[in-house]
């Protein structure tokens, strides 16, 4: 009896365990059958079946893994297994994952998907592909997709990668390489971007310096100097330290004694506001002068106005030919009128009272602060030690492992882009004793910098895929013209052959564009070609010899051989002019942007007497293809035939010339 019972028990166990074994062994095949991607493909086939009834080019697929394979780039992307129809335009309004991919500059079938979008290409389930796992990161958030362009494209002029370009530009302007090694950026950008601090003790008032150190953007919202969040004590010490940096040359200081009214008139006539806005109105190329009288020591101004480059040798301010009396008058005006009326006098007194005396201890502490925070990486100061890059190396920051990042106490998403955003918006937020100052980026600026940083990945791109970087040699003028250009700092506002500022027209082919007589008159008295613009070329009072040098150089060197000077021998025939008039006013309605007489739009320059200013050959070439001469112009390319362009040129040349403009016309 007992033996039967035990036998039965064994049999039960045996049966049970057999079923269990079968079950265990059945699980892998079931798992394989229920793969997510198979259901996507079957759904797609159903969708196509529906669409076929409505007539489409899409065809069902045989169910199986589809992949893009590019061994050179190490791309094995199986995304197309679920995203089957991304190249099929008829799926524009379909639900994901079937929706058509927007048009892109690149061939998706060649490059695959993960190069631009991140994610794990080899995965075969949605979660693994999108979220990532062992073999890499998840998808790059859509707003940062321009970062991927930067893996192959260098420079900050990558077509259609706006955020990337803006970010790279910001990194350059903010001089991040002062503290961080960043691949793709020169190790040391020119020191001289920020003012030299030798002589600062003579230049600024103590209370201004204190306030500036505490919060630079409060004085100058567009400054690139970050906020260091000094304590009161630190700011006072640093101020006291810097104030001892005085110049040893007494001739650099003199009292500003002159007529304030005269100074005001000269200030206005000389169009200082073209570069220096006042109270936010005017140019933005140079610091706003609205409250500069509260900043500067009045005795420092006259020398500066007289010859800026002697005071700060790498300034971009041009040399004006002010007579002594003018210099003193303008200095008086600035020191008296352009002050901050809302300055809190009680606060100023408190600041001055709390300034420590320049004892050895204070100076030592000040120097320590100066060196510890790396001030010398942007500001030159004699005697201060310049440390090497002391911030974290940002090589491969775009591929940085999340587990190596310190999130501190912040509750943000555990992703690399989030971390970078948080860091840029609040650099010391992750912990104590961090040194990075706050650049006070707006959200959009921060996003663009994050985009630029995310482009620095560890992916190795074969050189075949890297476009040739455009090598732009810097335009250096030498000799007599070089002296003139250096004195008047032409390249601060104008660009020549790729170097210079973007405030004023590009002069690269000015010799083929502008007639020398007009140019000469213009140098003597610059007037405004486009009334709608705020900025004006300042009046430099150039000597005749200097004007001659400049005009000759422009006429001889800054030319484009594909542009002839004159299109007509003598005056053009009357019927051609008539044809041109029709084309101008009726066919192409050019007056919608250009004024003639008193009618027309003011998008482009007025065309009265344009034949006096421009060579007819230039007008002709411009009309045939404006973008070839100025790529960003919004004058549309009409596809004019040669005959039409000649007719229009003839008409424009016939427009009445304007006699010498008086000052009131501006």
């Amino acid at each position: 009896m007992k033996r039967l019972a035990s036998l039965l028990r064994v049999q039960t166990v045996f049966v049970f365990s057999s079923f269990l074994t079968l079950a265990v062994l059945a699980v892998p095949p079931i798992k394989d059958y229920l793969q997510g991607w198979k259901s996507y493909q079957e759904q797609y086939n159903k969708l196509v079946g529906q669409m076929l009834r409505g007539g489409t080019m899409a065809r069902p697929v045989s169910v199986g893994i589809i992949q893009t394979f590019n061994p050179e780039l190490g791309v094995v992307d199986r995304c197309v297994t679920c995203h089957i129809s991304i190249l099929d335009a008829t799926f524009r309004d379909a639900p994901q994952p079937y929706r058509t991919h927007p048009k892109t500059p690149h061939n998706i079938s060649e490059l695959g998907c993960t190069i631009c979008h991140g994610g794990d290409g080899r995965a075969t389930s949605k979660k693994d592909a999108h979220v990532g796992g062992i073999s890499g990161y998840g998808l790059l958030p859509g707003q940062y997709v321009a970062a991927s362009c930067g893996q192959c494209h260098a420079g900050n002029n990558v077509p259609e990668a706006y955020a990337l370009n803006a970010g790279r530009q910001l990194i350059e302007e903010s001089n991040c390489v002062a503290c961080h090694v960043i691949p793709g950026f020169a190790r040391t950008l020119e020191v001289g971007r920020a003012p030299d601090l030798d002589g600062i003790g003579d230049k600024v008032k103590p209370q201004w310096l204190y306030r500036w150190l505490k919060d630079p953007k409060a004085y100058l919202p567009r400054t690139r100097m970050p906020a260091f969040h000094f304590t009161d004590e630190e700011a006072s010490t640093l101020t006291a330290f810097l104030l001892t940096k005085k110049t040893t040359n007494p001739a650099l200081l003199e009292p500003a004694a002159g007529s304030v009214d005269e100074g005001k008139t000269i200030f206005r006539e000389r169009r200082c506001v073209s570069c220096h806005g006042v109270g936010g109105r005017g140019g933005t190329l140079a610091p706003d002068l609205g409250t500069v009288g509260s900043k500067l020591n009045p005795e420092w101004l006259p020398r500066w106005l007289e010859s800026p480059r002697e005071v700060f040798h790498s300034t971009r301010m041009p040399q004006f030919a002010f007579p002594r009396s003018a210099v003193l008058a303008v200095s008086s005006y600035i020191s008296t009128d352009l002050v901050d009326d809302s300055e809190d006098d009680a606060e100023t007194e408190a600041i001055l009272k709390n300034l420590p005396a320049p004892t050895v201890v204070t100076l030592k502490r000040g120097r320590e602060l100066f060196e510890k925070l790396g001030c010398s990486r942007c500001h030159r100061l004699e005697g201060a030690q310049v440390k090497g890059e002391f911030g974290p190396d940002l090589s491969n920051i775009g591929s940085r492992d999340i587990d190596l990042l310190e999130f501190g106490n912040l509750s943000i998403r555990r992703t690399l882009p989030s971390w970078l955003m948080a860091k840029l918006k609040n650099p010391r937020g992750f912990g104590n004793n961090l040194l990075m100052p706050n650049y006070q980026f707006t959200d959009e600026e921060a996003r663009s910098v994050v985009t630029a940083l995310l482009s620095i990945t560890s992916r190795s791109i074969p050189s075949r895929y890297r476009p040739q970087p455009e090598v732009k040699p810097e335009f250096r003028s030498a000799g007599e013209f070089g002296r003139v250009a250096s004195k008047y700092q032409c390249l601060t506002c104008h660009r020549i052959q790729g170097s210079g500022g973007a405030l004023a027209p590009d002069l690269t082919i000015a010799g083929s564009q502008l007639k020398p007589e007009w140019l000469r008159r213009y140098f003597r008295l610059p007037y405004t070609v486009r009334p709608i613009l705020q900025e004006r070329m300042p009046i430099f009072d150039m000597s005749e010899k200097e004007i001659d040098t400049a005009v000759t150089y422009i006429r001889l060197a800054l030319r484009d051989d594909s542009i002839t000077e004159e299109v007509f021998d003598g005056s053009p025939p009357a019927d051609l002019i008539k044809q041109g008039r029709t084309l101008f006013h009726e066919t192409y309605a050019c007056q919608n942007c250009h004024q003639i007489g008193m009618t027309g739009g003011y998008v482009g320059p007025p065309l009265d007497g344009v034949g006096e200013r421009l060579y007819s050959g230039y007008i002709f070439s411009w009309l045939r293809n404006p973008q070839a001469i100025k790529p960003e112009t919004i004058d549309p390319n009409r596809g004019l035939t040669e005959g039409q362009a000649r007719a229009l040129t003839a008409y424009l040349l016939s427009l009445p010339k304007v006699s010498a403009r008086s000052a009131t016309n501006e």
Binding site: S17, P102, V131, S418, G601, V603
Partner: protein
């Protein structure tokens, strides 16, 4: 006893395998679907953002920064530039017409020649992007 242990082991492995049918659940979430770090509105998609820049550079002088036909040059023009946020017009105009007028100018759809032809300045992709942006204009906030 050993049979019992083996049974238990199999049961446990079965449970694990069943649990994994749904796929691994990795904890580190590396994907952000929305910008979590700013309180601003969701940024425009790729096509619309690109279109926005093209629009701002080429179109806004006449059609206005928000598309209402009030650009700074608009008041010199007769007829005035189209208000692109006009709902009725948006319903009535087809994508093909939009593409034609952007590429070929006003006369190609029997409108004023004051609207220039941009077909030689913008490539197909740029025209597409600015089209997407214009289509999305109804939803943009008023100036």
């Amino acid at each position: 006893m050993y049979a019992g242990l083996a049974l238990a082991a199999m049961l446990v492995s079965l449970i694990f395998q069943l649990g994994m049918i749904g796929g691994r659940q990795p904890e580190a979430s590396r994907v952000e679907s929305k910008p979590a770090d700013s309180s601003e509105a969701e940024p425009l998609g790729y096509e619309q953002a690109s279109g926005a820049r093209i629009y701002a550079h080429y179109c806004s002088v006449c059609h206005g920064e928000t598309g209402e036909g009030d650009g700074f040059n608009a008041f010199n023009l007769d007829p005035r530039p189209r208000n692109l946020k006009d709902r009725e017009w948006q319903r009535a105009v087809t994508d093909r017409e939009l593409r034609t007028v952007v590429r070929g100018g006003g006369p190609l759809i029997q409108k004023s020649a004051l609207m220039p032809a941009w077909g030689r300045v913008l490539n197909d992709r740029q025209v597409e992007h600015v089209l997407q942006y214009i289509r999305g204009m109804e939803g943009l906030p008023p100036s």
